[in-house]
Every structure is written in C-alpha cells, then in structure tokens.
C-alpha cells in the first residue's frame, strides 16, 4: 500500500478528481488488451500537463515507486499492465491536437489523442498520417509511439517511427527532455527519436509528439480475393511484390476469422473460403486504375476463386471494418488466446503458412491466421479453452516452436506488438547478446532506479 502522504501529494499535483484509489477503480487498470496478464496498481493518476507528469516522476523517484504509463490499454503484449503495484499514469486526459501545419506538413499532438480522432481532423485538411494499427478506435498517439505501431498501410508507407520527427519526454528524474524537432531532415548527433519510439514506456513518459504528414492520396481502390488454398494466397503476395507493384495494403484473413466475422457482422463473406485477401491500392487516379487491373490479373493467375474490386466506398469500408474486427473476433473465441507477432521475409510466406499448419496439427492447438501479408507479419493466434496447467505449458511450447520456425525462415520475434511481458522470455534468443547489453545500459542511463515500467522487455530486470 502506498502511504497516504503519497496519494495526498498526487492529489495536490493533479487535483483530487484525477487521482483514483478506490479498489473498484484500481481493478479496472489491471489489464490491457491481452487475455492473460494482469496486475493491480496502487493508484491511478490522470495528469493533464507535462509539468504535472514531471512532478509525478519526481515523487516516484524520491520514493522508489514504479510507474506504468498507459494510454488506452489496447496493447497486446502486457505493456501497460503494472507488475509492481505503484502508479499507473494514464494519459487519456492529455488529448489536444496542438497544431496541424499544412505548409510544413507536420502536426503536434499530446499523447492522449485517440488515433481515429487525429485521423478525422487530418481528413478535413486533406492530410494523411499513414500508421494505422487496427486498434485505431481506441489507441492513443502516445501508445502508438511507445509501441512503434504499424498496420496494413505499412507495406507502402512504413511504420510509426518513419513519421516521428520530435518528442518531448519526461524522464524518471522529472527532467523534461526534448529530442528531434520539426524538420524532416535532422542530422544533429545521435538520433534519440527512434530510441524513444518503440521504448514501451521503459525510458520515460512521452508528453508531446511532432509528426510528419503527407497529402492524402487522390484515389484508392479496394480489391478482394478469395482462395481455397492458404499457401496459394501466400504465394500471390510474393508475386505481386515481385511484379514491382507496392499496394498500400495486403491483408490476410483465414477461414476461421471469415466465419467469426460473418457470425457477428453478417456482411456476406463466403464462409467456406480458406483465405480472403484484402488489397488497397492508392495514388493518382490513373496509377490506381492500372495497378488494380494488374493485381486482379495476378490474383487470378495465382489461383484465386474470386478476385474483384469493391463496387464502391461503402463496400470497401465494410471489408475494412470486418478486417479491423478480425482480431476481436479471435480474442473472444476462447479463454486463452495468444496472438503471435512473428514476422517473416515476404518471399517465404507460403512456406511459413505451411509450417504453421504442421505445427498446429502436431500440437493439436488451432492456429488462426490474420494480419499483414504485405509485410510478412501474418499473426498466428494460438488458443485454448483449457485451464489445465499441462495444456498451458504445451501452448507455450507451441509458441516457442512458431518463433523458432520464423527465425529459421529469416524472420523476427515481434513485428509490431512489442515485447512487454508476453515475449520477454524469448528476447535473448532473438537478439545479439551485445545488443541486449547495450539496451540495458541505455535503460540504466535514463532510468537508474528502474522505476519506469519495470519488468517489461527484460527478463529479471
């Protein structure tokens, strides 16, 4: 239990209403988007300014209290789950878009801005911020920076780190540090912006974000293809990229997800289909038209049962809505669901899909596939309703087998969800030991007392 003085001081800093300490409130900050990680904080603060956060951090450092930053709690790696009680510092009340600069093509936002709200504001100005984690209705900008999130659009546009120009970060000492700036080019010393981008809240609290924007593409087409064989769908992705076309998105959804979506949303998908690919092309009207034509040919040559364009915006929107509901559909299907995040080189996709099938058959756990085929990041979700200890251990072994297979194919442990609690047991096998050592030293520079989101990323930290 935190001492009453600490709670009192927090109330002085942010005001009484923005400090939560009732058991019934604390319980609701004990989880994030994962099904299996929980931990209850001792207090929750909802600051509104950088200065308040600085004061909170000073207090935490003085009293050695762990601080877990939290945005919307949608991450799926256990990142915003407090492991040592302490303070959950939730940024949702810092939700102002401070500036949208149409001529420098930049924006400045507070960390609690919800991605979809930001997108809506940009759309009015005909501007575009591509990183599109499929949790856009919930996730905050701070969370997406801390996780270096990416989504379907990253095939063509890259992930969050490609758009972050500058950050304001409150360090555990309370010092407010500025890194980067608001220029697209910046070659002034070591670049610390990408260090904090993807730092999962372990180095400091991100309080202000300057982002690079691009003009909204003039035209867009959505294509949909149905396959009766998953590996064929995987191979087609490689052949599209091999033909020199880079679509904006190439998403992969398997039979299980198609059926679940259909059950919940009833949008008329063929429930017997083994795979659905959703592809977006964007750019100028002329380019979009010819690329769409060419992709449709490739899809048909590649063995698609159906390959066609969405007839209008409404149909396209429906497909993408179904896609964003896909994860949820998987997560609510069983008691324990682990969405793996391994990523493989894009020319190994069909082999990857085949190997997953083998792993599933051998282990007996169903493996569901959904995700970003265009960048080799198709998430295999392994699930079980069993609470039996042995089954859960076997599940863990299965996850390890998937990871080892991905590494063999030249892939990586996490494409976008981050390490958090969920993947730290495998981290040492995914990274060079020297790199791990360097990372730990960096952590120690900024957070010598290890109060900043402790227990995340590193095993026995």
């Amino acid at each position: 239990m935190l001492k009453p003085e600490i709670i009192h001081r927090l109330q002085e800093i942010v005001g009484k209403d923005d400090v939560l300490s009732a058991r019934e409130d604390l319980a609701t900050y004990s989880y994030d988007g994962t099904t299996n990680w929980t931990g209850t904080p001792e207090v929750v603060v909802l600051p509104r300014t950088t200065e308040q956060i600085s004061e909170i951090m000073k207090l935490a450092t003085r009293h050695h209290i762990a601080v877990t930053p939290r945005g919307a709690g949608t991450n799926i790696s256990g990142g915003s789950v407090p492991t040592r009680g302490g303070i959950v510092l939730c940024t949702v009340k810092m939700n102002r878009v401070l500036d949208i600069n149409k001529t420098n093509l930049t924006a400045m936002v507070e960390p609690g801005v919800v991605l979809q709200d930001f997108n809506n504001m940009l759309a009015k100005e005909n501007l575009f911020y591509p990183p599109d984690p499929q949790s856009f209705l919930g996730c905050t900008m701070g969370g997406t920076i801390a996780e270096n999130s990416g989504g379907p659009l990253c095939v063509k546009y890259g992930v969050t780190k490609h758009y972050v120009l500058g950050l304001e970060v409150v360090l555990p000492s309370g010092y407010v540090m500025k890194v980067g700036g608001s220029t697209v080019k910046n070659r002034t010393g070591y670049d610390l912006v990408p260090l904090f981008t993807g730092s999962e809240g372990t180095l400091g609290v991100i309080t202000r974000i300057t982002l690079r924007l691009i003009p909204r593409p003039a035209a867009r087409r959505t294509l949909m293809a149905i396959f009766d064989d998953m590996t064929l769908a995987g191979a087609v992705v490689s052949s599209i990229l091999g033909a020199g076309i880079v679509p904006a998105k190439i998403e992969f959804v398997d039979n299980f997800v198609i059926r679940r979506i259909e059950e919940k949303m009833k949008i008329g998908l063929p429930v017997d289909a083994k795979t659905m690919l959703l592809i977006d092309v964007d750019g100028s009207e002329a380019a979009v038209e010819s690329e769409a034509e060419r992709i449709l040919e490739l899809l048909k040559e590649g063995g698609a049962r159906i390959a066609r364009r969405a007839k209008d915006e409404t149909e396209a929107a429906l497909y993408w809505k179904a896609r964003s509901a896909g994860f949820a559909a998987i997560y609510s299907a069983a008691r324990t669901v682990i969405a793996e995040d391994v990523t493989v080189p894009r020319d190994r996709l069909s082999e990857y899909i085949q190997r997953l099938d083998e792993i599933s058959r051998k282990s007996g756990f169903p493996i569901v596939l959904i995700g970003h085929a265009g960048d080799g990041n198709i998430h295999p979700s392994v699930s079980t309703d069993s609470t039996d200890k042995e089954d859960l251990e076997r599940l863990e072994d299965t996850l390890t087998a998937i990871f080892e297979m991905a590494l063999e194919l030249g892939g990586t442990l996490s494409g976008e969800h981050g390490i958090g609690l969920e993947k730290k047991r495998l981290l040492s096998r995914a990274l060079d030991p020297m790199a791990i050592d360097a990372m730990r030293k960096i952590k120690a520079i900024f957070d010598p007392d290890n109060i900043m989101n402790p227990d995340k990323i590193w095993e026995n930290a």
Binding site: A27, T28, G33, Q116, L137, F327, S332
Partner: protein, 422 residues
C-alpha cells in the same frame, strides 16, 4: 458472498466472457467520453462484474455507483467487434445489487442526490416551468407535482396524485376506426403521456383511428417498468407491472406506443423478467405485438404520406434517434421517412443523430451534471444542423433535449414526432 446468489448475472454469464478488452468502445461510449476513466467504460464495467462474480470485489456503494454510470444506450454493443452485450450485464448486475443491498439503495440515492438537493430539484422545477408550453398541459398545475413525479419515478410505482386526471379521462376506452376497420390495436400510453403530455396520446390515437385502426386504451395498463427493472434492477416489482400489462393487452392485434423507452421495456420483459415458463410464454406473446408508432405506421400500415400542421410550414426539422428506438429496436429509417414526406417542411440530418442524449432515465437523476455534459454534445449537433425544430419520439429524450437547450440558451424547439404529423 457465494456465486449462486447472483441470480441475474448468472443468466448472462456467457455474455461476460465476450469482451476481449480491445477498447474500441472508448470511442463511442458517451459516459467514457466525458469521464475518461476505465470504470466508466463498457470494458471496465464488464471487468467489475467479473470480479464481483469471482469474489474479488463485493457489493458496496463504490461498485454500485460505477455500475449505475451507464445510460444503457447500447452504443458499445452496436460497435463492439465481439458484440458483447455489456449493457445487459449491467442491468443484471444492478438487479443482483438491488437484491443484496435492498431496495433502499438506488431509491435512497435518488432521495439523497435529487430530492435532498434543493439545487437539482429547483432546476428540475425551473426546467419544467419553462417547458410548460411544450411538454405539459397548461391547465394542470404540473409544477406542484413535479417532486412527486420525480420521487415516484424512483420508487417505481405508478405515478401518484398527478395521475388519473389525465389521458385516460380524455379518451374513451375504444376509439373506433374511421372508415373500414383494418386492425384492432391497444394504445400503450406510458407515464409521460398519461400524466404529463396527454395531448400527444390524443394525437396518436386520433391519427391511428383516421388510418383505419380501432384503438383500444386498456384501462388496466400501467407503467412499463423501464425505470424499475432496466434502471434500478428491481425485477420483483417489475414482474408485477409486466404481468399486469401483458394481461391488459390480451386479444389485440398490436400494442402501439409512441414512447421509445416504453416500446423497448415492453419488448424486454421476456429477456429480463421471465422467471417461470408461464411468464416466459405470456411475455413473449405480448412483446411480439409491441410496435413503436413510427414503425407501426410505416412497416405495418405501409403509410407513406403524412401532413404537417400549419405551424411547421417552411420550418427546418432534424431528427434525434432515441437509443431505445434506434439501437434497441432497430427503428431508424421509419421516422426519417415520415419526416421527409412532410410537404412544406425541410428535413436535415444532424451529425451524430444517433448519439445518446445522456438521459438514460435514472442515469439523469443520479448523475445530473454528467448527463448534462453528454447532452451538450447533442446540442452542438443540433446547432450544426441549423434546424428550427428537433423532433424525437421518446419523452425522456424530449425532456433532456429541452432541458439542455434551455440551459445552454439555444433557440431550437423540441417536439415529439406525434406533434409534427397529422
């Protein structure tokens, strides 16, 4: 407290497992949008109920307060990728909480929060007086009875002394169809139309009769019970009300009401209140016949032509979707079609027309300031539509919109759908 005592929660146990904590509801939940705390969010409420069932939390004021912070608007469910029916879980939990803490709890809170606070009460009265011309019969001296009205709402009884002078004194038990009779329906008035705005009831009955429908006004009908079981979780009292209503409307082709909340509550009897096979059967039969008047006119009678009274000539109108009508009953297009068919009236759609106005029945009484914050956003939508009149079909919404308009000094008039068609 052991598991088996959560009678109502255990009936929705499967629902409890649906939420996968994606947090998408944060984008749409009107309460969360104002409060920004996890417990105000559908996901958080689901978690609280889960922890209650698992024994990690117990029934107390703190828990109850959080579970009462929900307007029941269903926006979370409609937008939820897992279609988690958290509002139903919340209603079930309120019932078990009421069972444990005793009936005094929610009502006690109303007394404390509303009646005991002169400020809030005074405001209700001030609003009522300003609304007099719109919502209340000029002659009835309604103001005097407002406290009764509010307290009775909380007690879940039929409204006391104000009653009986009103609608049932003004209309016969049977209003014959003009011309050939096509159907014989029962009119369910709801408390607001019965006691506060009987002229709306009269208009509905008259309109139906002119369209060839014989309208029966069963004298035995009572309050729909929405505030009692959906709001307060008092299922026992509500069962008596449901039994009475189901019996009162036996043998009629349809049960038509112009109150969205009543329509919704009446169709929920079987789901929440049926505790015996007999009730299950009786409630299901009754609920199957219930139609909101907008849906009855358009879907059952196939009516497409409506006229507006002269005072609407040249006016711009917009539509506010009551949650109970839109998300609960799926009636969206019908009222719009009716409004669009009016000659000499311009229909404009407001942004976020289907966003909750923040009334939520009891919610408004327990959390008035919060309710008004939600209403403010609605007012902004109405303003953006630049309409002269906002039309809706739920007396609760109507009260809320008018209250909010007067608080914010907005010029728009609020009218019932039945006020604007003839």
């Amino acid at each position: 407290m052991s598991r088996k005592e959560f009678t109502q929660i255990s009936r929705v146990a499967r629902e409890l497992e649906q939420c996968m904590k994606c947090g998408f509801c944060a984008y749409v939940c009107p309460v969360y949008q104002e409060e920004k705390t996890e417990a105000s969010l559908a996901r958080g409420k689901n978690e609280l109920v889960k922890l209650l069932v698992s024994g990690e939390l117990e029934i107390n004021r703190e828990l109850a307060d959080r579970l009462y912070k929900c307007t029941g608007c269903m926006t979370c469910t409609t937008n939820c990728p897992a279609r988690a029916e958290i509002p139903r879980i919340v209603v079930a939990a309120r019932a078990d909480i009421a069972g444990e803490m005793g009936m005094r709890f929610p009502y006690g809170l109303i007394y404390r929060q509303v009646l005991a606070k002169r400020g809030v009460m005074g405001l209700a009265l001030a609003v009522a007086s300003r609304l007099q011309g719109v919502l209340m019969p000029r002659t009835s001296g309604t103001l005097r009875h407002m406290p009764d009205f509010v307290s009775a709402f909380g007690k879940g009884r039929r409204i006391p002394s104000v009653a009986r002078k009103f609608l049932r004194r003004q209309v016969p038990e049977v209003t014959p169809a003009a011309g050939r009779r096509t159907l014989r329906v029962g009119y369910f008035s709801g408390c607001m139309n019965e006691f506060v705005s009987p002229e709306i009831g009269r208009r509905t009955i008259g309109l139906l009769a002119r369209r060839g429908v014989e309208v029966v006004f069963p004298r035995a009908q009572g309050c729909c019970g929405a505030a009692v079981f959906l709001g307060a979780g008092d299922f026992e009292t509500a069962r008596k009300m449901a039994d009475r209503n189901a019996a009162a409307f036996e043998g009629l082709d349809y049960v038509v009401t112009d109150c969205a909340t009543c329509a919704c509550a009446l169709t929920e009897y079987a789901h929440f209140l049926a505790d015996t096979p007999e009730r299950e059967e009786a409630y299901a039969r009754f609920s199957g016949k219930v139609r909101h008047v907008a849906s009855f006119l358009v879907d059952v009678l196939g009516a497409a032509d409506f006229r507006a009274p002269a005072l609407l000539d040249g006016k711009k109108v917009t539509w506010h979707d009551p949650c109970h009508l839109n998300r609960h009953l799926g009636v969206r297009e019908q009222p719009r079609r009716i409004l669009e068919s009016l000659d000499g009236v311009r229909y404009v759609e407001m942004p976020e027309a289907d966003r909750c106005c923040g009334m939520g029945g009891q919610f408004n009484l327990l959390h008035y300031e919060l309710s008004m914050k939600i209403a403010k956003r609605k007012s902004e939508s109405i303003e953006a539509a630049d309409a002269d009149i906002v039309v809706t079909a739920c007396p609760g919404c109507q009260l809320q919109l008018a209250d909010s308009a007067s608080r914010l000094d907005k010029p728009q008039r609020v009218m019932s759908l039945m006020d604007v068609i003839e």
